[in-house]
C-alpha cells in the first residue's frame, strides 16, 4: 500500500472523491463533514449541520454540489463553493445509510434503516420514488454507473437489483407536466417506476455493502457472515459466482477497482484485503493495529483509493504508476504493460521492442521499478520488487523489433538493485552481506566488493552511488574508496547531467543538487511530492512535482514553469521541449516557455549581453520579475520593464538613475516624489536637480539654505524678495541673515514691529543714523546692550560656487545605455552620474527648456510678477532702508 495521505479524526463513515479536483469528503460519526485536499494535505472546509453521525456522502460529478445523509433522517444537499447547505430532503423515517447522485439525471438515491430506498429529484427537491421490499435496514443503495439499475444491500441478508428504467422514461417524457401529480401519488402507493429485478440470496447474515462492476455485469457484496460474494447477472437472471473468504469479522465495504482487475474490501477485523477479481484469490492484506474499517472510496478516474476507520481515514494507491525508464542519447527505453518499448526523441517514434516477463500476479506492486541500459551491448536490466528485489537481464536483439509474444529467456538474479557500471558489467547489491557483486553479461560474478557503509540501494554514478540510511556516497569499485558522501534522507531518484558534472538527488519532498564528488550545491524543499527531473543543456535542473513543472538554477533559485493536471515524469529536455512519460506510458513532448529561467540564469552567470537581448526581444514582465530583479540587486534592469511611473521612479532612485527619476517625477508631479528626488540628488551632489526639486515643491527654506551653501547670492536675494512678496517675515529675515544684509534685517524687524530688536541690531553693527532714528521711535525704551565690538555676520564663501558639486560616483549599471549598445557591457563601469550641467540633462529628459536658475518660475507661481524683469536688480547697494 502506498499511503498518500492520512487524517486523524472521529470515526469516518462516509467517503467521496471529487472527480476532477484533488479533494475528498469524509463524513464523521461526530456529525461533521470534512473536505480535504489530499494532495496538499490540508483541510479545506468543514460542514457541521447534521445532528448525529453522517453515514453517507457523495460529490456530484460536475456541479459544485455534494449530498449527505445522517442519523437525523435528513438528506442535505450542499454547495461547496457557497460553503452552505442548499436544502434538506425530508422523508426517511430512520437513519440514512448511504446517499449517491445519479451520473446524469438530477437524482439522488438514499438507503435507510426505515427499510426503504428512495430516489429524489434534487432539482424539484421531491422524492420521486420509494423502493420497498427489503424487510430490514437497507445498508447501501447505489446507482449503476451506466444502466438504469440500482443495487442495494440489507440486513435481511439479501442483495437486490432494482430496475428504474420506467422512472427514467417518466421523467424524460415531455407531456407529463399535468399528469405528474397523479403519477407522484401512484409512486407513493407502490408505483411501478422501480421494480425489483433480482433478489440475490446467499449471505448467511446481514449484507453491509453491494456495488456494481464499472463495466461488466458483476456485483460484489460484503456481509456480516465475513464473506465477500461475487454475483453475475444477465437479462434474465443473476446468480452467485464465487465467495471470497478471509475476513475475520463483518465485512463493511467492498468494491471493484476502477482501473485494475481487483476487488478491494475492508472489514471490522481492522484489515483491508485486495483480491484478484479473475482468479478470486487474496492478493494482499493491510492491517491496522486498533482501527476497524468502515468505508471505502474509489476515485472515479485515478488510481486512488480511500478507507475510513475508527480514528480517521487514509488515501492510498495499490501500485506505483511511474513507468520504469532509461534514457540513452536520443533514445528512451521504458516499460509499458509487459513490453519493453523504445522511443526515439528525434522522430518521436514509439516502438515495441520485446515482451518481458509478466509481473507476478500473486502479489501487487511487482512491476519493473528501474531500468538500466548499456548502449554498446544493447542490454537492459529491469529491476523489480519480485522476491524482495530482483533483476532480469535482456539482450535486445540486433534485428530490433520482435513482434512475437514469446518472452526471451532472460537471465535473472536476486538483489536489491542492479545497475550497469560499464559496457559489459553490472553491479548488483546484495543487501544481506552488504556486498556489491559485479557481473558480466553471462550473469557470472566477476568480482565481489564489500561496501564500507550498509547500503539499501545503488544507483549509477560513473562509479557507484550508494544509498545508506541517511546519506549517499560514491564508491569506486576499483579503488575500493569512498570518493564523496553527502547527507541526504532517503534519495529515491538520481539524475545526472549529461556531462556527469552535476547530480540531482530527488527525495520525497526535496531536491539536493551536488557536483560529481557529492559536494553540496543547494537544497530545495517542496511541500508536495517531487516526481522527476532532468538537466537541460544550460545546467538548469527542470523537475516535476505532483502539480507543477519547475526549474532550479545552479544557485538554488527556483520557480514554476507550468502547472500540471496529472503527474508526468520528465525523461529528457531539448531546448524548450520537455519530454515526459505519463502514467499511461505515453511519451508527451511539452513545450515550455523557458524565457524566465534562461533570463535569470543569464543574470546569474553575468551574461549581460544575453540579458540585454532578452530584454529587448521578449515580453518579460510582471511584478514577480521586477521584485526578483530588485531583490537580486538589479534595480537598473528592472527599470527597463516598468511602465508604471511610480515603480519606475522608485527603481530609478534605487539604482541612482537621476535622469529617469526626474522624468518620472515630472510625470507624477507629487510633493513626496519631488522631495525624495531632492534627497537622492543631494546624496549624489547634483545640486542642480536638488534646486529643481525644491523649486517644484516650493520648499523655500531648503532652497534658501541650498543657495547659501552653494554661495549663490543672487538667487538668495531673490529668495528674500519672494519671501517679502509672500509676507513671510521669518523667511525674509533668514535670507537677510544669510546674505549678511544688516539694513534689510533692520528693515524687516522694524516692519514687523520689533523695534527693540531692530535697535539692537543697528546698534551692534554700528549703523548710527539708523540707531538714532530708532531711538526716537522707541521713545526712551532703549534696551541696554553689552558694549562689545561686533562684526557683521557675513556667511563664508562656499568652497565651490555655482554649478554642481563633484558628483557622487554612482555605480553605473552594466545596463546603463546598454539598451542602445548591446554587447558593450560585461564589466561594471564607474562613471559620473550625470553631466555637471544639469540644465542640459533636463533638456534631454523633458525637452521643456527650463533654464537653470530661472527663478521666475517660482515667482510666477506666486503671482508676483512686478519684479520679474528686474534681473540683477537685487544687489545690496540698491536696497534702501525705508525712511
Amino acid at each position: 500500500m502506498l499511503t498518500k495521505f492520512e487524517t486523524k479524526s472521529n470515526r469516518v463513515k462516509g467517503l467521496s472523491f471529487h472527480s476532477k479536483r484533488p479533494w475528498i469528503l469524509a463524513s464523521l460519526h461526530s456529525g461533521v463533514i470534512q473536505l480535504w485536499d489530499y494532495r496538499m494535505g490540508t483541510l479545506i472546509d468543514r460542514f457541521d449541520e447534521h445532528d448525529g453521525p453522517v453515514r453517507g456522502v457523495h460529490f456530484h460529478q460536475s456541479q459544485p454540489l455534494f449530498v449527505s445523509g445522517g442519523d437525523d433522517y435528513k438528506i442535505k444537499v450542499w454547495n461547496y463553493k457557497l460553503h452552505r447547505c442548499l436544502f434538506t430532503l425530508l422523508g426517511h423515517l430512520d437513519y440514512i445509510r448511504t446517499v449517491q447522485f445519479h451520473h446524469e439525471n438530477p437524482w439522488i438515491v438514499s438507503a435507510s434503516d426505515d427499510q426503504t430506498i428512495r430516489i429524489w429529484n434534487w432539482q424539484s427537491r421531491t422524492c420521486i420514488s420509494v423502493l420497498t421490499g427489503h424487510n430490514h435496514y437497507v445498508m447501501c443503495a447505489l446507482f449503476h454507473p451506466k444502466e438504469d439499475l440500482v443495487v442495494s444491500a440489507s440486513l435481511d441478508q439479501t442483495v437486490r437489483v432494482w430496475d428504474i428504467g420506467s422512472l427514467k422514461k417518466k421523467t424524460v417524457s415531455p407531456a407529463d407536466d399535468i399528469l405528474r401529480l397523479s403519477q407522484m401519488n401512484a409512486d407513493f402507493f407502490g408505483g411501478v417506476d422501480a421494480v425489483v429485478k433480482y433478489v440475490l440470496e446467499g449471505h448467511d447474515r446481514g449484507v453491509n455493502w453491494a456495488s456494481f462492476h464499472p463495466t461488466l455485469p458483476l456485483i460484489v457484496s460484503g456481509a456480516d457472515d465475513r464473506q465477500v460474494k461475487i454475483w453475475r447477472m444477465n437479462d434474465a437472471k443473476a446468480w452467485e459466482v464465487d465467495t471470497l473468504r478471509g475476513h475475520m469479522n463483518n465485512v463493511s465495504c467492498v468494491l471493484f477497482h476502477s482501473r485494475q482487475d481487483i476487488i478491494v474490501s475492508n472489514s471490522e477485523d481492522k484489515s483491508i484485503r485486495v483480491w484478484d477479481a479473475t482468479k478470486r484469490t487474496g492478493l494482499q492484506t493491510f492491517r491496522r493495529e486498533h482501527d476497524r474499517f468502515w468505508i471505502l472510496g474509489c476515485h472515479p478516474e485515478m488510481n486512488l483509493l480511500a478507507a475510513g476507520h475508527d480514528s480517521g481515514m487514509i488515501v492510498f494507491k495499490l501500485e506505483r504508476e511511474r513507468p520504469a525508464f532509461s534514457v540513452s542519447g536520443d533514445s528512451l527505453y521504458f516499460v509499458k504493460d509487459r513490453f519493453l518499448r523504445f522511443y526515439e526523441y528525434s522522430s518521436q517514434k514509439d516502438t515495441q521492442i520485446l515482451p518481458i516477463r509478466r509481473p507476478g500476479s500473486n502479489s501487487l506492486n511487482q512491476g519493473p521499478r528501474t531500468l538500466s541500459y548499456s548502449p554498446t551491448e544493447n542490454a537492459i536490466l529491469i529491476c523489480s520488487d519480485v522476491d524482495g528485489g530482483s533483476y532480469e537481464l535482456y539482450i535486445i536483439p540486433k534485428e530490433s523489433i520482435t513482434r512475437g509474444d514469446t518472452v526471451q529467456d532472460a537471465k535473472r538474479g536476486v538483489g536489491g538493485s542492479a545497475v550497469f557500471v560499464a559496457r559489459n558489467r553490472f553491479a548488483v547489491l546484495e543487501k544481506s552481506t552488504n556486498q556489491v557483486l559485479v557481473k558480466n553479461l553471462k550473469n557470472e560474478i566477476v568480482k565481489k566488493s564489500a561496501l564500507p557503509v550498509a547500503a539499501d540501494a545503488i544507483f549509477y554514478a560513473g562509479n557507484l552511488l550508494c544509498r545508506a540510511e541517511d546519506r549517499v556516497y560514491i564508491f569506486d569499485l576499483q579503488q575500493r574508496l569512498v570518493l564523496g558522501d553527502l547527507q541526504a534522507s532517503f534519495v529515491r531518484y538520481v539524475v545526472w547531467s549529461s556531462d556527469m558534472e552535476s547530480v540531482a538527488l530527488l527525495s520525497k519532498h526535496s531536491i539536493i543538487i551536488a557536483d560529481k564528488k557529492l559536494v553540496h550545491r543547494c537544497t530545495l524543499h517542496e511541500t508536495i511530492r517531487v516526481k522527476s527531473g532532468s538537466w537541460d543543456d544550460n545546467g538548469v535542473f527542470i523537475y516535476t512535482t505532483l502539480t507543477h513543472i519547475k526549474y532550479c538554477l545552479p544557485n538554488g533559485d527556483s520557480g514554476i514553469i507550468k502547472t500540471l493536471d496529472t503527474p508526468v515524469y520528465i525523461t529528457k529536455i531539448f531546448g524548450n521541449t520537455i519530454f515526459c512519460l505519463d502514467r499511461d506510458g505515453k511519451n508527451r513532448p511539452i513545450a515550455i516557455d523557458s524565457t524566465e529561467y534562461i533570463f535569470k540564469l543569464s543574470l546569474l552567470k553575468k551574461r549581460y549581453d544575453h540579458v540585454m537581448s532578452m530584454i529587448r526581444n521578449s515580453e518579460l514582465c510582471g511584478q514577480a520579475m521586477i521584485s526578483y530583479l530588485q531583490q537580486k540587486g538589479f534595480p537598473e534592469v528592472a527599470l527597463h520593464f516598468v511602465k508604471d511611473e511610480r515603480t519606475r521612479f522608485n527603481l530609478a532612485l534605487e539604482s541612482g538613475n537621476i535622469q529617469i527619476a526626474v522624468a518620472s517625477a515630472k510625470e507624477i508631479d507629487e510633493k513626496d516624489h519631488w522631495y525624495r528626488l531632492g534627497v537622492e540628488a543631494l546624496r549624489q551632489g547634483n545640486s542642480g536637480i536638488v534646486e529643481y526639486a525644491y523649486q517644484r515643491t516650493k520648499n523655500f527654506e531648503r532652497l534658501s539654505f541650498l543657495y547659501l551653501i552653494t554661495g549663490n547670492l543672487d538667487k538668495l536675494s531673490k529668495m528674500m524678495k519672494i519671501a517679502e512678496v509672500k509676507n513671510d517675515v521669518m523667511g525674509q529675515f533668514h535670507n537677510a541673515l544669510y546674505l549678511g544684509d544688516v539694513q534689510e534685517r533692520i528693515k524687516i524687524l522694524v516692519n514687523a514691529g520689533h523695534l527693540p530688536l531692530a535697535y539692537a541690531t543697528a546698534k551692534t553693527h554700528g549703523l548710527n543714523d539708523v540707531v538714532e532714528d530708532l531711538a526716537e521711535k522707541l521713545q526712551g525704551n532703549i534696551p541696554n546692550l553689552p558694549s562689545r565690538s561686533s562684526s557683521l555676520l557675513i556667511p563664508p564663501t562656499p568652497v565651490l560656487c555655482g554649478g554642481d558639486w563633484p558628483l557622487l560616483r554612482v555605480m553605473k549599471g552594466i545596463f546603463e545605455g546598454g539598451l542602445d549598445n548591446v554587447g558593450k557591457g560585461g564589466n561594471e563601469e564607474y562613471e559620473d552620474a550625470g553631466d555637471a550641467d544639469w540644465g542640459e540633462d533636463l533638456d534631454i529628459v523633458d525637452g521643456e527648456n527650463i533654464q537653470n536658475g530661472d527663478i521666475s518660475m517660482a515667482l510666477d507661481d506666486e503671482g508676483a510678477p512686478e519684479e520679474e524683469n528686474e534681473e540683477g536688480g537685487w544687489d545690496l547697494e540698491d536696497l534702501e532702508l525705508p525712511a
Binding site: 554498446t376 560499464a422 558489467r425 559485479v438 566488493s449 564489500a450 560513473g462 576499483q478 579503488q479 575500493r480
Partner: protein, 290 residues
Amino acid sequence: MAMAPDMLFNLRNNFYLGAYQAAINNSDVPNLSEDDAIERDCLVYRSYIALGSYQLVINEVDSSAATPLQAVKLLALYLFSPDNKESTISSIREWLGDAAIGNNPILRLIAGTIFMHEQDYHEALKYTNDGRTMELYALNVHIFLKMNRSDCAEKQLRVMQQIDEDHTLTQLATAWVNLAVGGSKVQEAYLIFQDFSEKYQMTSLILNGKAVCCMHMGNFDEAESFLLEALNKDAKDQETLANLVVCCLHLGKHSARFLSQLKLSDPEHMLVKQGLSAEESFDRAIQTVG
C-alpha cells in the same frame, strides 16, 4: 569484510595507460605503507624513464634504496648508455642469481624488459615466465605476441582474466591479443580502448590503440584523426609517427615527412629498419639486374 582501499590505483592506472606525467603529478598519496611507498616510487621512476628522464632516476636512486628501486635504476642505466649495456646486463644477471633478491618481481620485470629490448625473448621469458604479478603476466603476453605465439599469449591472458578480468592490464592485454588474432576480435579490442578513453584521461597509447583498431577495420580516415590527435599530445612519439606513416600510405597521402621525423627521433625503430633493409634489398636487386 571490506577490503582495504587501493590507494595506488590511480597512479598505477595512469602509468599503464601511458599518462606518465599525470602519474608523476598525482603521486603524492598520503598515508602509504612502506611497501606501497616503494611501489609508488617505482612507478614514479618508471614514469620518468618512460618520459626519457633517465639521468634523474640514476641520480635520485642511491645505493641504499630498496631492491626494486635499484632494478628500476638498472633499467635507466641500460637505456641511458647503450654503450655500457654489457655491464648492466651482467649486473642484472648477477642480481638474478642472488637467492635473496633474485625472486623480486620488479627485478624480474626489469630483467624481462631489458632482455626484450635485446630481443632475446627466450632469456626474457626465463625470468618472467612464472608470472605472479599482473605486470609480469602482461609482460609475458607482450613477449609471446612479439614471438608471434598468440596461442601462448591467450593462455597467459586466461590466467590474468581469472585473477581479475576488469584489471586495466588484463583489458590492455586482451586488446593486444585481440589485435594480434585479428578478424572479428578487432572490434572487441576497439571497444576496450573506447572504454578506456571514456573512463580515463586520453593518452597517446589509447589513441594509438584505437587508431590501430580502425586501421585493421579499414577505417583509415578515422584512424588518421586519432593519430593526429595523438600527435598533438606528443609530436615525437615514435608509435604515433610509425602508425601515421602506415596510415598515410593507405590513404595515399604523403608520409615522407613523418618517416623522416621518425628516423630522427628513433633510428632504431622497426619500421625504419625494415624500410632500410627493404631499400637495401631493392638496391641489390637492381644491381643484380643491372
